[in-house]
Symmetry: C2
Subunit: 304 residues, 2 copies
């Protein structure tokens, strides 16, 4: 397909045909092939290189987090439609037989499980905030993570996934420290993506808040310029895909998890994340499905 | 703590104190620090090196898979207590308000969500089988993956996790091809772990089947020698921890997903997986919490 030809289905089919992704019978949870993963790891490596001089602490969190974190940050107030809570079976022998019977005869079995203490992690930064409780050092804190993230939005459109990886950075400190850092990274992110031949642009953005009241929250978020995104056309020219997001949370997490700066004030936080699968798809869309045929300058950046 | 001193709590506390893992307020879902991850990646790299001559296909699957796969392979018959099904919110504005109200007033809210089409992946090999449907080449197929796996078994014991990574290999072919391959890897796995100074031993094993009838399944599985494990003492001398498992499924997946060999018969499958976090913990238990102080021959294997 031509670079200027935007069609989600054609793009998905192309990814499958070239072995880049593997269908699994459910939307937004496809497997990734070796070439897809190689590009993803190479791009992630460039992000690591860029951030090395900042000397971030490095963590990895599992795809599930404590349900209490979701409750405390009021995620269900804003994004109930996107949540994923993990349920399991708590019954005894007889109920287990009944459960198996239901499953094996194709009857619904959702009412036979109950909620566990874990939920899918909906944002790469969430699991780290509880570990910040207390007073952060004068220079603040800087953390990076690569976590799997879940959003319940099954879609045939390949860039809209239920499960994907985010390379995340979180900054904790005074408002000035945090905003300066976010602005610096907004430019860094643009430069990095443009250096790979991607037509990346930044814009003010809003989260997909649920319902009518959510619309007002989105307007307010945009007015306060709390969220920026870097966008690249992947499945539409008019409606480019967000591949990177930059969020200033003000005191939201600081007050929720009692994080303070040395002056005794509630700490501010900001985070930024590269949606790794989306960046990889932007590369395939822009340069074609075969990395061997990508422009030499892009290849030499990714495979030096 | 001394190498010969077995105590799950002391071991967990030592991992935390050395920044190797980060508590998250829920059992079996802790974060991993930079040093822990480095060891994990290095060990995974050694597995990759070992397998290179076999030229496996490489895939990565998300931590969630299609619910239909779990249903088709009869997972709920055998391990209902370990399953994790993903539930989300499907309601409208009014129900969303009621949900938020429940969450914010600390009331149970589990009955307000419904089952989605995805479940946590309980075994690293599961997502790949549906993609094998059809006739496999004469030499069979060989695939490797690194996937996050979920088991609902919260525990204070650090090697028993709800969420962990498995470096997996899957072989598809005739019974002879598959069994020969499994036996070859059983020795390879032992050699690899012993080369890292780990007191690894192999043994016949059984899966943790649910309930009374499960006990008979386990006996039969052991009698048929369908499952082997490689074990290393980590939290107990008498009851060593399985860090690697080797499973011969016979025709189970072949018949479920209509996978055939060139002679028209139902294909056999086997899989093996290294529990990466458990291998890393075995290294910390055996050689101490500070990799810089590990024996030179172990260090030179991991950081050549």
């Amino acid at each position: 397909m031509a670079v200027t030809d935007y069609d989600p289905k054609k793009f998905y089919d192309g990814l499958v045909k070239h072995g880049l992704i593997v269908p699994v019978g459910v939307q937004g949870a496809f497997g990734r092939g070796a070439v897809f993963e190689d590009v993803l790891e190479r791009f992630n490596g460039l992000v690591t290189d860029l951030s090395k001089k900042d000397n971030p602490e490095v963590f990895t969190f599992p795809p599930v987090i404590s349900r209490q974190v979701l409750e405390k940050v009021h995620y269900l107030d804003s994004f109930p439609q996107l949540c994923g809570a993990v349920y399991s079976f708590f019954g005894k022998e007889l109920q287990a037989k009944a459960l198996a019977e239901r499953v094996n005869t194709g009857q619904p079995w959702g009412d036979m499980l109950n909620m566990t203490d874990v939920v899918m992690n909906p944002a790469a930064c969430y699991p780290v905030y509880p570990s910040f409780t207390g007073v952060v050092p004068k220079q603040g804190r800087l953390v990076t993570m690569l976590n799997w993230v879940y959003r319940h939005e099954p879609s045939a459109e390949p860039t809209r996934m239920q499960s994907f990886r985010v390379r995340e950075f979180v900054r904790v400190g005074t408002p000035d420290q945090v905003v300066e850092w976010r602005d610096m990274w907004l430019q860094r992110g643009l430069d990095l993506l443009q250096s790979l031949g991607l037509p990346a642009k930044s814009d003010v953005a809003a989260d997909p808040f649920f319902g009518r009241s959510g619309k007002m929250l989105a307007v307010s978020q945009k007015e306060q310029k709390l969220k920026f995104e870097v966008l690249i056309p992947v499945i539409s020219a008019e409606d480019p895909t967000a591949v990177c997001s930059f969020n200033f949370h003000q005191e939201h997490f600081g007050s929720t998890f009692d994080i303070r700066t040395t002056d005794g004030k509630v700490a501010n936080t900001a985070c930024l994340g590269f949606g790794l699968e989306r960046v990889v798809m932007a590369l395939f869309k822009t340069h074609g499905f075969e990395p061997k045929k990508w422009p030499a300058e892009v290849r030499s950046r990714l495979w030096p």
